[in-house]
């Protein structure tokens, strides 16, 4: 049987900050790559597609990912609009089209799989700018009309999607992976911290500074226990400024801004704990990243943690504060969380996640394993 031909929509990788969806696409490619190294015959033929490169064809970074690349002559915003309206359709000769986000195209007779990362704009509309909400809603309607199958990172997203009109049989839950961090640059992280005046132990928080991440409550909780820590360990916040106008400062709160991937890995590896307490999240990647380098996690109830984090109520500052203090100081609790976290991270290898995507592609294309 010839190799499965899959068109993967990777427009997200054109963005300067590709975010969680970018991590998903690259993790998926990494996992497929690892599978292919073990079992080259079974490797699907991937064709990546995106808008035209800004710097010109020969310098297109997406052409360096080791797969065929089809670029549209259109720039990004025009291309997604053309996809939306069905003006640009899938090319022929494919077995499956897979959209890595809600930006889908008209697949014609080829089965379309769409990854829906969350429907949070419906659950917490206030946490989204209005324009973003409108686009998401329209894109969801198109995806529901076009897709043959959905991939979601968590059962709760599957529930939301069924509520939006999808059939549960047409949804497969596949979590995100954890093993995508580059080698941690601990000395680099230490130097970065030193430049911010941080020496010794610290608590870490990772994520875009936006309302949904619940940072004011986290800071309030941290302030309330700061004096109870063995020393006044600072809270280091990593991540770009998103939107919203909340004040995210407090004594002992240090903003590191955007850091390189290796430095981020170094910060995870040298942090006393990761605090990640969003009000709601489709999956929640930072906790499993922290777990992958053996750092204990304090988190709201999230699909990603799999019971391997110290769970706190994100609406209750006292609960967050208690979680922070315990995990920062209680060695027995820390050891247990590190052990469980490592096991959870090991479950979430991108190779296993890629294998589950391949199974979905085989199924929707009628290749095998239909029953």
């Amino acid at each position: 049987m010839s190799r499965l031909r899959v068109l993967l929509l990777v427009e997200q990788l054109r963005r300067s900050a590709a975010g969680g969806i970018g991590t998903y696409v690259l993790g998926l490619l990494q996992g497929l790559n690892e599978l292919a190294a073990v079992d080259p015959e079974d490797e699907p033929e991937l064709i990546l597609t995106a808008s035209r490169a800004r710097g010109g064809e020969s310098d297109d970074p997406l052409a360096g990912l080791g797969h065929a690349l089809r670029t549209s002559p259109l720039p990004g915003p025009l291309l997604t609009r053309a996809w939306d309206r069905g003006i640009v359709r899938a090319p022929s000769g494919l077995d499956v089209v897979h959209a890595a986000s809600l930006a889908t195209l008209e697949p014609g007779r080829v089965p379309l799989v769409v990854t829906v990362h969350d429907l949070l704009w419906r659950r917490v509309p206030d946490a989204y700018p209005p324009r973003g909400r409108r686009w998401h809603e329209a894109a969801l309607a198109r995806a529901l009309r076009r897709a043959d199958h959905f991939v979601v990172p968590a059962e709760v997203v599957a529930g939301d999607l069924v509520e939006a009109g999808a059939s549960r049989e047409a949804i497969t839950v596949i979590p995100m992976g954890s093993d995508h961090l580059p080698p941690p640059d601990v000395p680099g992280a230490v130097a970065r911290l030193a430049s911010l005046g941080v020496r010794g132990p610290f608590l870490l928080c990772v994520g875009t500074l936006e309302p949904r991440k619940n940072l004011p409550r986290l800071i309030e909780a941290y302030e309330s226990i700061r004096e109870d820590l063995p020393e006044r360990w600072p809270l280091v916040m990593v991540g770009p400024s998103g939107w919203g106008d909340q004040v995210m400062t407090g004594s002992g709160v240090v903003h590191a801004g955007t850091v390189s991937a290796t430095e981020l890995a170094g910060l995870y590896a040298s942090a006393r704990l990761l605090a990640y307490v969003p009000l709601i999240e489709g999956f929640g990647l930072p906790p499993v990243e922290a777990m992958s380098v053996g750092t204990p996690v304090v988190a709201s109830p999230l699909p990603s943690t799999g019971g391997a984090a110290r769970e706190v109520d994100p609406n209750d500052t006292a609960s967050i504060a208690a979680g922070l203090l315990t995990v920062a100081t209680d060695d027995a609790v820390r050891e247990e969380l590190i052990r469980r976290g490592s096991a959870r991270a090991a479950e979430l290898s991108w190779a296993s996640i890629a294998r589950r995507h391949r199974e979905v592609w085989d199924r929707v294309s009628g290749r095998r394993g239909a029953g």
């Binding site: 996992g31 080791g66 640059d185």
Partner: protein, 398 residues
């Protein structure tokens, strides 16, 4: 090393028998050999025979990737997915992906042999910075080279270790990039072997009436300061009527100043541009030379003087960059840009005598301090330190 990261295509051998698997960027071996290519060939040959390393080579090139098989020494494994150069460099500049493991499988260390090291999934990274011409003399650099500082800064920021061919460049790197000095390691190159001794003639056609020659070796580019040598040669020619100047090296860029200097020289009829010579051509030219002149303004290492010293040819060089560190007391040094001193020493060297014989003896002795085996040993230590640090993932202080 660290965790179970998915399905490793090839298990690193460290756990079992403490051998490190190393992926070495052998791209500089493709195309016309350069100094960097000479380093790659020599280092790979030295590394391949070590029993504590599993060496493999890869090439970042789509068109020429087949050529790599015949250019790497035996004992170095090859095997990779195709790596298109321009898209990959664009991707590495902007996204820090794809990691090298996607193309060559799992490695403990990846060594970028020419200023650039790919991002990795789990491998420790080592990058060779051959010189800082681009920082010291940006006006002497072409456009692609001007991108190096950004790439070096990025690699350093991401935790790469730096290998330099001399302590001189190591200090420059620390000063220019503010790198932690413990992560910068000077490991001297070996001596590039010249092909077998003279089997008749220099292969260089000397002008009528000339029986001896001053040799200079290196691509014609501003950094080599050939106009200085051409002016100094005027004086040598006046004293020694049967001496020619032979310059071996392809045209790099900015050779206009060189052409002008030659045109202005009274001895221009005795200046021979031999162009680029292959190994045996260079060997023949070197073995028959009376003296090697090395007038450079800046060097990160300096192969030609070392080769000449090993061949028993007296060397007159400028004390530029790492040259004094490399030649030690085995060459006569003059200040960079000092044409009078250069001329005086060349005249003296051409005259021969006890002082020149002693210089040759010191040069020969000094050249024996350099070997590719020693270079490989230093690189192996560097690889091991980089891997060890990689292994200590946890921050100490928490």
């Amino acid at each position: 090393m660290c965790k179970a990261h998915g399905v490793p295509p090839e298990r690193p051998a460290t756990a079992a028998n403490d051998r490190l698997s190393v992926g070495f960027d052998a791209t500089p071996l493709l195309g016309r050999p350069t100094g960097v290519g000479v380093f790659c060939a020599g280092a790979l040959a030295g590394l391949a025979v070590r029993d504590d390393l599993d060496m493999s080579a890869f090439a970042v090139s789509w068109r020429r990737r087949e050529g790599i098989a015949e250019r790497v020494p035996s004992g170095v494994a090859i095997g990779q997915r195709p790596m298109p150069a321009r898209p990959l460099h664009a991707a590495w500049r902007r996204m820090s992906v794809p990691p090298i493991e996607w193309f060559v499988g799992r490695r403990d260390v990846v060594h970028g042999s020419n200023f650039v090291v790919p991002p990795t999934r789990s491998a420790a990274r080592v990058v060779t910075v051959h010189d800082l011409t681009v920082v010291r003399f940006p006006e002497l650099c072409d456009a692609p080279t001007l991108a190096y500082p950004g790439l070096i800064r990025r690699a350093v920021a991401e935790g790469a270790w730096i290998h330099t061919p001399s302590a001189y460049v190591a200090e420059e790197v620390v000063a220019a990039f503010g790198v932690d000095p413990t992560r910068v390691r000077a490991v001297h190159h070996g001596v590039p072997e010249l092909a077998a001794g003279p089997d008749g003639g220099s292969g260089v056609v000397l002008p009528d009436g000339c029986h001896h020659y001053v040799l200079s070796v290196g691509t014609i580019e501003p950094r080599k300061d050939y106009p200085l040598l051409v002016r100094a040669f005027d004086e040598v020619a006046a004293v020694h009527p049967d001496v020619a100047l032979v310059i071996v090296g392809g045209d790099g860029w900015g050779s206009g100043a060189f052409d002008e200097a030659v045109a202005a020289s009274a001895a221009r009829k005795r200046i021979v541009r031999a162009g680029y010579l292959d190994d045996s051509g260079l060997a023949a030219a070197m073995h028959s030379a009376d003296v090697l002149a090395y007038p450079s303004r800046y060097e990160g290492f300096g192969f030609p003087p070392l080769q000449a010293m090993a061949a028993g040819v007296p060397v007159v060089a400028t004390a530029a960059g790492a040259v004094p560190e490399v030649v030690g007391d085995g060459a006569w040094l003059v200040a960079p840009g000092d044409g009078d001193a250069l001329a005086a020493r060349l005249v003296e060297a051409m005259a021969g005598g006890g002082a020149v014989d002693a210089l040759v003896a010191r040069g020969l002795a000094r050249s024996k301090d350099f070997s590719w085996a020693r270079c490989a040993s230093g690189l192996a230590d560097l690889y091991r330190d980089a891997v060890r640090e990689q292994g200590t993932e946890r921050g100490g202080d928490r």
